[in-house]
Symmetry: C2
DNA sequence: AAAAAACCTTGACCTATGTCAAGCAGGTAT
DNA sequence: ATACCTGCTTGACATAGGTCAAGGTTTTTT
């Protein structure tokens, strides 16, 4: 199918290779809130997200989700677990109705691994994920709640238009209460302004940077 | 030099390739506590640790070190920054007198990147680092202080023999006070026993596991 | 439009861990 | 032996952020 060809990761395969790939993979559909895999599951498949969104999170001692990352179409999911044949280190849950390409990993390894194009794509994907993890560490370990919020406003200000505050809070791994308090603090110190419908206007980007 | 050949990452190179590598690299010696690079520096070189130990950490808002990882001889340091040409995301400091192979990254990229052996080694190194980062997240974000200590005792119990408590505390990113309190708590609940010289005996591995 | 559900805000309180300070123990140097 | 580090322990206190609860507001369902 053309679906596969359009995935950036496989764009450079020959027709013949694509045929092979088709044989070891299948397209699966999921609904929002369904789970693709749980933390601790054994990895059998490599997944490529074709459509929809997928979030990956870990669960802490008190059962709360620690949001790690969100996948968009084209993303390669969970190579690590496949490579190392260790249990998935996190849980993956669909956030909307989605489609994934489910690839039999063992077969892929056998046929495709010597292909330098594929290796390169894998390196790229690993590096991207590496960056994500470093960001997670930055976010969770280094930044205070205020700094998280300031960073999010500066980098993703428009998302406030689409997301509810609870959703933003969960992306930042904060409680809605803390987010609310932080926003009012910023508001009262004149850093931002909230008009009617969740539209944040940054009044003082300078100062907001300084919070970091 | 044979030094290079013994680095696992380059063990499969031909003599000719090794010659090339020699031309674009140089061995540097450092003393303990010297800094290899600071968080935020621009990456020019790829480093391979030949001898000694190197620790990598980030610094949080209050200026404390957040320990991320320790490198041992053979380790490839900081590929990410090189690949992506972004500033180093952490600081690297030698913990003992050490030697590194300093490789001109641009030249390496040009000459060696199509080599599937090298690609494979890079993938391996990236995956190892990926795992480390996931562990860091696990340690810093998911685990409580008690759980960190319990995990460390179970996995690295012998290190208590060689390291001072302050050093263990800094590996766990805890204050010595917290570590001390946690150890006495474990001791008084009969989970562990401390004899004269820093030798921890685990009395109840079962229960210790449960703390996790 | 009415009822129900979900969301946001604010206050009071809790908890884990860090900070500061003091005392103590053991090892090393004088 | 004495003095002096360095590291360990313990206590009192501080603080960031979470938890619980209640009231108000918005959105969704009926």
């Amino acid at each position: 199918m053309d679906r596969i060809r359009n995935v950036s990761c496989f764009s450079k395969l020959t027709d013949e290779q694509l045929e092979k790939l088709k044989k070891i993979s299948v397209i699966k559909k999921y609904k929002g809130k369904e789970i693709l895999f749980y933390e601790g599951d054994a990895p059998i498949y490599l997944y490529v997200l074709l459509q929809g969104t997928l979030k990956v999170y870990k669960t802490n001692h008190k059962g709360q989700q620690i949001f790690l990352h969100q996948f968009y179409p084209g993303g390669l999911v969970a190579e690590l677990a496949n490579f190392e044949n260790i249990p998935y280190p996190a849980t993956a849950e669909f956030m909307s109705d989605s489609e994934v390409l489910r690839i039999d990993y063992k077969a892929l390894e056998k046929d495709f691994f010597k292909n330098p194009e594929i290796s390169f794509e894998i390196i790229k994907s690993l590096i991207a994920k590496h960056k994500i993890l470093i960001d997670v560490i930055q976010k969770e370990v280094i930044l205070t709640a205020d700094a998280k919020v300031a960073k999010f406003i500066l980098e993703n200000g428009d998302l406030f238009k689409t997301l509810k505050n609870t959703q933003v809070a969960s992306i930042l791994n904060l409680t809605p209460e803390t987010l609310s308090r932080t926003l009012s603090k910023f508001k009262s110190s004149g850093l931002i302004e909230l008009d009617d419908k969740h539209h944040i206007r940054v009044l003082n980007p300078q100062k907001l940077e300084e919070v970091l």
